[in-house]
């Protein structure tokens, strides 16, 4: 059932030319060089340390690796991270 819903949404966005992040609850990630990363539509903080941040998404997780991380702002669906970003990985179970 859930899969069907996903497929419907994906089809509608393709056909109707709607922005995917709005309709499908996908994260929107903005990177400013290596120093800032701005994530919208996350579902909470899982792990946070100097060198690694793991965020929960609607589907799967987002892993950010780097150095000297500081969360500049955290709001229910937004997060601004500062530091030196080296990797951004999507983890799908």
């Amino acid at each position: 059932m859930r899969k069907l819903q996903q497929q419907m949404k994906s089809w509608i966005t393709k056909k109707m030319d709607l922005p995917a992040d709005v309709l499908m609850d996908l994260p929107r990630i903005t990177l400013v060089g290596q120093i800032h990363i701005y994530i919208e539509n996350h579902r909470g903080l899982l792990v946070f340390s100097d060198t690694e941040v793991r965020l929960l998404l609607k589907q799967g997780q987002l892993l950010i690796r780097g150095n000297s991380f500081v969360i500049k702002t955290i709001l229910p669906e937004e997060l601004l991270l500062e530091g030196t970003i080296e990797q951004v990985l999507f983890l799908n179970e």
Binding site: G44, L45, L46, V47, F48, S49, D50, F69, V70, I71, K72, T73, I74, L75, P76, L80
Partner: protein, 407 residues
């Protein structure tokens, strides 16, 4: 991120979280709508973040769910500064007192310097200044302004001709010119005394020279009274003639006295308003009475507050509101004549010197015209009629030629 100024204004704290599941704690906070920023990891299990002071109470609910140790390790922003200021209020009071005392001291009179006066005059001046309230250690806006002091001193201290009052910073400088310089015995050149105007000689006292007239003589203007040349005609002795000759002289004056006059007089009712001015902006600080007077006059006195040498754009203004009233004065003809005589006498006395006396007064003519009384008056005055006239050069040359002959 919220505007930083808002967070400073509301106050914020730095929190340290210890224990496992600190991420979950932060998540929970965020989900409850608390504003969290600057999250940092310290060591393995500790985490620090900033949050608003107003959200601190709501931390308790979060804590019940998550076992973490919370410690507040920093307090920032306006509410905390306020508290600290209250605690160190001595500091604040000292700071304010410092400025207040500097302002008070800058507006005090610290010195009254009197220059150019003899000790006696200086004593009189100091006494008069005391009466006006100009004293060391008084505030400057308690005393009249410089022009008023100057006027009052010149009017009330008879032995000075002029006094310049200047306010330099916190000191009054008085520059005095005294009336009676010690009289110098002038080295007079030979001269004659002649009549200043037409007169009848009343008294005469000749110190030096040869009188040419006698008492009750009628003299014309410019007529010789005392000659500075006497002795033999071919070798006269020349002296500066000296003497006092009083003569009766006559003056005519015309005055006009309106029978009915309307004046504006003060009723004696008044009240005072006090303002503090910041530039052009006025704040009333005292004197909130309603102005019930129909006719009134306002007198304003301004005083700029000083800070050291500088005038601040802050001023103290005192406005006196005095009630006025129209008063009618109605003269009868007799009263009008009396008033006219008085006016004429006063005007005449202004023209005459101190030694002159008025001995006779006669109304020559009176006419009533358009509600005005026109008077023509005649005065008899006894006054000094002496004028000097140096003995002319040809005379002196003649004398010097003649001198060797005689010796």
């Amino acid at each position: 991120m919220k505007n930083q100024w808002v967070t400073v204004f509301l106050g914020y704290v730095k929190v340290r979280l210890k224990g496992r599941g600190s991420e979950r704690f932060v998540n929970e906070c965020v989900r409850r709508g608390m504003f969290v920023w600057n999250v940092k990891r310290i060591g393995n299990e500790a985490l620090t973040f900033h949050m608003l002071l107003k959200d601190v109470r709501r931390l308790r609910g979060v804590r019940r769910k998550n076992e973490c140790d919370i410690a507040f390790i920093g307090r920032y922003g306006f509410p905390f500064w306020q508290k600290r200021l209250l605690r160190n209020s001595g500091f604040l009071i000292g700071f304010v007192l410092f400025f207040v005392s500097i302002i008070v001291l800058s507006n005090m009179v610290w010195n009254v310097k009197i220059e150019g006066a003899k000790p006696e005059t200086e004593y009189l001046l100091v006494k008069e200044l005391d009466r006006l309230g100009v004293e060391k250690g008084k505030l400057q806006f308690q005393m009249p302004d410089v022009d008023a002091i100057q006027r009052s001193l010149t009017n009330n201290v008879p032995s000075i001709t002029w006094v310049g009052v200047e306010l330099r910073g916190t000191a009054y400088h008085l520059q005095v010119v005294e009336k009676s310089e010690p009289e110098k015995e002038e080295a007079l050149s030979p001269r004659n005394l002649v009549a200043k105007k037409e007169a009848v000689i009343e008294r005469l006292f000749v110190e030096k020279g040869k009188p040419a007239v006698a008492v009750h003589d009628h003299v014309e203007k410019g007529q010789l009274l005392v000659s500075g040349m006497y002795g033999k005609e071919d070798s006269p002795t020349l002296v500066p003639a000296k003497g006092v000759i009083f003569g009766e002289t006559w003056y005519k004056s015309e005055v006009e006295v309106p029978l009915k006059t309307t004046f504006q007089v003060y009723t004696g009712e008044f009240f005072v308003k006090h303002y503090i001015k910041f530039g052009n902006f006025k704040i009333k600080v005292w004197g909130f009475e309603e102005n019930k007077y129909k006719r009134f006059k306002e007198d304003a006195m301004m005083y700029n507050i000083k800070f050291f040498r500088w005038s601040l754009p802050i001023a103290y203004e005192k406005v006196s509101v005095r009630e006025e009233e129209a008063a009618d004065r109605q003269y009868t003809e007799k009263q009008a004549i009396e008033a006219g005589k008085e006016i004429a006498q006063q005007e005449l006395k202004k023209k005459l010197d101190e030694k002159a006396t008025i001995v006779g007064e006669k109304v020559l003519q009176k006419r009533l015209e358009n509600g005005k009384l026109k008077l023509s008056l005649h005065y008899k005055v006894i006054e000094d009629i002496v004028a000097t006239q140096p003995i002319s050069k040809p005379d002196i040359q003649k004398e010097s030629k003649e001198k060797p002959k005689s010796s």
